[in-house]
């Protein structure tokens, strides 16, 4: 049995508010928690496979060119070496998210420095790693453009409305700033890994991937296999943040080696390889223009950005994504352009677009507030558009004003126009800043099977992944709420392409998409149970393993009997959002200390208030927001990919020199979750929250730096040298 919904209309029934189990939204601990804390959750490279060989990718120090010869003989003679693969089906780049087809092949056509071109397979990891370093690969090298500022860019997107230049000229107050952000790495803690096994007909790969149904298609297409010959398993993924959306080079290489050698092969990227070959977030060069009347009401809004990618890649960091709808302003110019350069593939890194776009707008808004003499929170409140400022669509739901107000109250925001350098504690200037948050919403087709088992427990199955987001918890809660079961009585199985295809994790789509699939499956089961009782399912109350209706009550196992009852829920996005602007919103408040001598900045506390539809689990949702706010700190202060100007290689390709925040960088953080129901977003009225927490917060920190010490810094990350260079004397 299955239930299919293509959601063409908002679902205002709010079914999950009428069910009685009381687990939806509850801050329940993750069901897999103890597996993770005892080291018994198994990640891709950790499966035991008899006779498993170890593969190590061989990369070449050439920015563009082609492999002309590989001297296999020398390394084949090394102890333990079994094979050297340079199969043309090896992939040179990772697949973009939801590509569903093979990424760039052959790997031996080199497009960026450090591209993998071959795989050395040996009995042991040490043998393979050494042999991979010693393999002599000859390459024909070519020059390639490396500097995004030095090439002509292609226009990717453009919106013009009214006359921005005129609005700027006429404005009572205006701001025109240019801001740069540098590249970011996902830097998930688990390096990309695959363990492939081939039985002569079917391929089984344990891998670390976010979106299995797409990944299976990508892998099959790369290898020339049918999809049903490929099984992928990723029940635990050690972080993704976009870098595991598409199938990456080690998966295809491991599969090819296993197929050629007839033995299991494991390939794990080194940390340096992870930095050098998986997707980066593009650096950006942005210009923001704001024109306002004397009361600070926007009359013009401009946001232009240049990003980069390799030739042939369709992805362009969508910097303007939320700029289209965040603030008012009749005269608008939004332009995005892409420079084609030879760095590793640019793709999705947590919150692509907003993670670097919103903070820039928020810096400009802070400057406008100062010019107009208006409190920054008030300035934002004055500029929330009634409807989408470009296409006139109504907002499906928007808690932005409440987030601003409640966040300000919780933080203790002092309502006043800003004047920097008001507080000093010893060597440290103290200041506060704020920013709005916005992240557009989307959902993806998803299926899930829910089985009521004799005895009154349930099983939820989908190939959906849990990359740390809380999928195991929330899918169990949706099912528990709908079926009247305690989460302990629900087993959730994920991360296996043998199971019904879910959405995958990425772009904050997972909870709303797969949650809806589970919801639909449970609606089907509820109808079946009602049928057995000869009643309407609206008359059915399921709670604590009991079935109640106006005419009586029965224990669920009694009603189920000896046979399991299952239903596949099939959710598909439809036209429900066609006439609406759908997005999650929030607000950030930050207090920083800036050292007057050294320009070092420390965030002292942060508050975030977020509205993202229905909260499915207040604990895991809060953790997502905390994670996002931690990323804000890295984005604002420490993270940047440094590319060599001469040969284009990534210089800081490890975790010592690419500075993700450490524990001491993260202060007390407060998170407010504002309950909201978005009927258009999904049948469970939920939107996404996985990325919202880092969409704008770096701007709050930047604004706080200015409030503290008077430095307006227009380059992220705001390292001590940059803060010092912008800091007024004294």
């Amino acid at each position: 049995m299955s239930v299919h919904l293509k959601q063409d209309r908002p679902d205002t029934r709010n079914v999950l508010d009428k069910t009685r189990q009381g687990v939806i939204g509850a801050p329940l601990p993750r069901p897999e928690g103890l597996l993770k804390t005892t080291g018994t959750a198994t990640y891709a490279a950790e499966y035991a496979a008899e006779g498993c060989l170890e593969g190590v990718l061989v990369t070449v120090p050439v920015v563009r060119g082609a492999v002309t010869a590989i001297d296999e003989e020398q390394v084949r003679a090394m102890p333990g070496v079994v094979a050297v693969l340079s199969d043309k089906r090896m992939t040179g780049r990772p697949a973009q998210g939801m590509a569903g087809e093979a990424p760039f092949q052959p790997a031996q056509e080199v497009c960026y420095w450090g591209q993998p071109v071959a795989l050395v397979v040996a009995q042991s990891f040490e043998q393979a790693r050494d042999a991979a370093k010693r393999l002599v690969v000859e390459c024909r090298g070519e020059d390639a453009p490396l500097d995004p500022a030095a090439v002509d860019a292609e226009e990717s997107e453009s919106t013009r409305q009214g006359d921005l230049a005129h609005a700027m000229a006429e404005a009572a107050h205006s701001v025109d700033i240019t801001v740069t952000t540098e590249g970011h790495a996902s830097a998930a803690m688990e390096p990309h890994a695959a363990l492939a096994q081939w039985d002569g007909e079917r391929l089984t790969v344990h891998a670390s991937l976010q979106m299995l149904k797409f990944n299976r298609a990508e892998l099959a297409d790369s290898l020339g296999l049918e999809q049903d010959q490929v099984r992928l398993l990723s029940p635990y993924v050690g972080g993704g943040f976009g870098s595991k959306l598409g199938v990456s080079q080690e998966v295809v290489a491991a599969a090819l080696a296993a197929m050629q050698l007839g033995r299991p092969v494991r390939v794990v990227m080194s940390r340096q390889q992870v930095f050098q070959v998986v997707e980066r977030r593009s650096e950006t060069h942005q210009r923001v223009r704001l024109a306002a009347d004397a009361q600070g009401r926007l009359t013009g809004f401009g946001h232009e950005a240049r990003v980069s990618n390799l030739p042939g890649e369709s992805f362009a960091e969508p910097v303007l994504q939320s700029s289209h709808l965040l603030y008012a302003g009749d005269n608008r110019l939004l332009r995005l352009e892409v420079a084609r350069i030879h760095r590793m593939t640019a793709g999705s890194v947590r919150a692509p677009g907003e993670a670097v776009g919103v903070q820039t707008v928020e810096q400009a808004m802070d400057m406008l507030a100062a010019k107009a003499g208006i409190d920054p929170v008030e300035l934002r409140l004055r500029n929330l558009p009634d409807k989408h400022p470009e296409n006139g669509k109504a907002f499906s739901s928007r808690k932005l004003a409440e987030c601003l107000e409640r966040g300000a109250a919780a933080f203790g925001w002092e309502e006043r126009p800003r004047a920097p350098r008001h507080t000093r504690e010893g060597e440290w200037w103290i200041g506060t800043g704020m920013a709005s948050a916005a992240r557009v919403h989307s959902v993806v087709e998803a299926k899930a099977r829910v089985t009521l088992r004799p005895g009154g427990t349930a099983l939820v199955e989908t190939d959906m992944t849990d990359i740390g987001t809380g999928t195991y918890a929330i899918l169990g809660q949706v099912a528990g709420e709908m079926l009247g079961l305690a989460p302990a009585d629900i087993e959730v199985r994920l991360g296996d392409t043998e199971l019904p295809p879910g959405s995958g994790s990425g772009g904050s789509v997972g909870a709303a998409s797969c949650g809806s699939a589970v919801f639909l499956a449970c609606e089907g089961l509820r109808r079946k149970l009602a049928e057995r009782l000869g009643i309407n399912s609206d008359d059915l109350t399921l709670k604590d393993g009991f079935v109640r209706w106006s005419g009586g009550e029965k224990a669920l196992p009694e009603l189920l009997g000896n046979a399991p009852l299952d239903c596949v829920g099939h959710f598909e996005p439809g036209d429900s959002t066609q006439d609406l602007a759908v997005s999650s919103f929030g607000a950030f408040f930050a207090e920083v200390a800036v050292n007057r001598w050294t320009g070092e900045t420390r965030v002292r506390r942060m508050t975030g208030a977020f509205g993202f539809g229905r909260v499915l689990n207040a604990r895991t949702a809060r953790s997502q927001c905390l994670g996002g706010m931690t990323w804000c700190i890295g984005n604002a202060l420490t993270e940047s990919l440094l590319f060599d100007p001469v040969d284009g290689h990534l210089a800081n390709c490890d975790l010592a020199e690419y500075h993700v925040p450490v524990n001491r960088d993260v202060p007390d953080c407060e998170v407010l979750l504002l309950e909201e129901r978005d009927a258009a977003a999904s049948p469970i009225q939920a939107k996404g929250v996985g990325e919202l927490g880092l969409c704008g917060g770096a701007g709050a920190i930047a604004n706080a730096i200015h409030d503290a010490c008077g430095a307006r810094v227009f380059a992220y990350p705001m390292t001590p040298d940059r803060v010092l260079a912008a800091m007024p004397e004294g």
């Binding site: 120090p61 001590p720 260079a725």
Partner: protein
């Protein structure tokens, strides 16, 4: 990692004899050497494991302290005598790395820590330190973390450690055993070298020589500070650091022993700074003149130009804190 022959030294002499071979390296805590071996930056044919030699004690020696070469960074920083009499040393150690690394890193090994230069640690890049004659990728490349003092056209790498900066300020000495059984002692200030035209040599150790201890002179009291400027609040190398032993009487400096990290191929110590400061009244103008001396020959390489003003300001911050100026 290249294959190697693993030998454990049971006695110091044994270790010295083995280490005399140019293709042999001594292994102590391993926190730097194993890292570099995995990258094939270091490719010894033989590793001599010296980690179990009896060089693990901290003992009073004369009026000072003798810290065995195999004493871990953790043990040094936690030692009550170090904390009481040489707090700058404890502070510097604690400002470096992580607890896990400090638990294994040793006194001798930390002195021999090699540079964090991106070009040195990437064997697909030119580096005169790793491969003499191959060129320096950093000079025209990403030089953010590199040196501004004492550089050469062949190398602009920095010495990355913190502990040695404090030892330089303290004027500690390095005790070295030689292959022939004798020993010698070198001031920490002279232990590390400038790159010149032989950047492959980080320090003055000769083949067969093994560090056995660091000796600290008698405690001098005063104010002892270690200030490290870094890009995150912990677990990051210094953009610039200052170790300071400062004393004042009647509002005049009676001691101002300073050493600097993150600026050069070695912990930087310039005796002229103490000469200028001692006897003078603390003032911002004086600190500026001290910085003029420090940075007299400073040369930036574009991306690291900021280190020159940063060093000036960090020096001023430390002297202000020590003297109370500007408080």
């Amino acid at each position: 990692m290249r294959p190697f022959d693993y030998q454990r030294a049971e006695r110091l002499e044994h270790a010295s004899q083995l280490a005399a071979d140019a293709d042999t390296l001594p292994l102590a805590g391993g926190t730097n050497l194993v890292d570099l071996m995995k990258l094939e930056v270091e490719t010894p044919q033989t590793l001599v494991d010296i980690s179990r030699l009896p060089l693990r004690s901290i003992a009073e020696e004369g009026a000072g302290l003798r810290i065995g070469a195999l004493v871990t960074n953790t043990a040094t920083a936690a030692d009550p005598r170090v904390r009481a009499d040489y707090p700058v040393l404890a502070r510097a150690i604690l400002a470096g790395a992580s607890q896990q690394l400090r638990n294994r890193a040793t006194t001798g090994g930390n002195l021999c820590q090699r540079t964090r230069c991106y070009y040195f640690t990437n064997i697909d890049q030119p580096c005169n330190k790793r491969e003499p004659g191959s060129g320096c990728g950093a000079i025209e490349g990403i030089a953010r973390i590199h040196a501004v003092l004492g550089t050469s056209p062949h190398c602009i790498a920095t010495y990355p450690g913190d502990m040695a900066v404090a030892l330089a300020a303290l004027d500690a000495r390095v005790e070295i055993a030689r292959e022939n059984g004798s020993s010698r002692s070198v001031p920490v200030r002279d232990f590390h070298r400038l790159p010149g035209d032989t950047p492959e040599r980080d320090n003055v150790l000769e083949p067969g020589e093994i560090i056995t201890a660091v000796t600290l002179p008698a405690p001098v009291g005063g104010t002892q500070l270690y200030r490290k400027v870094r890009e995150r609040s912990s677990y990051a190398f210094a953009l610039c650091s200052v170790a300071a032993l400062v004393a004042l009487e009647d509002n005049r400096f009676t001691r101002a022993d300073l050493a600097f990290g993150g600026l050069a191929h070695k912990p930087w110590h310039d005796p002229r700074i103490a000469e200028l400061l001692v006897g003078s009244e603390p003032s911002l103008a004086l600190f500026d003149r001290a910085a003029d001396l420090l940075l007299e020959g400073a040369q930036g390489y574009g991306e690291n130009d900021f280190k020159i003003p940063l060093a000036r300001r960090t020096l001023a911050a430390v002297l202000c804190e020590a003297s109370g100026v500007g408080a």
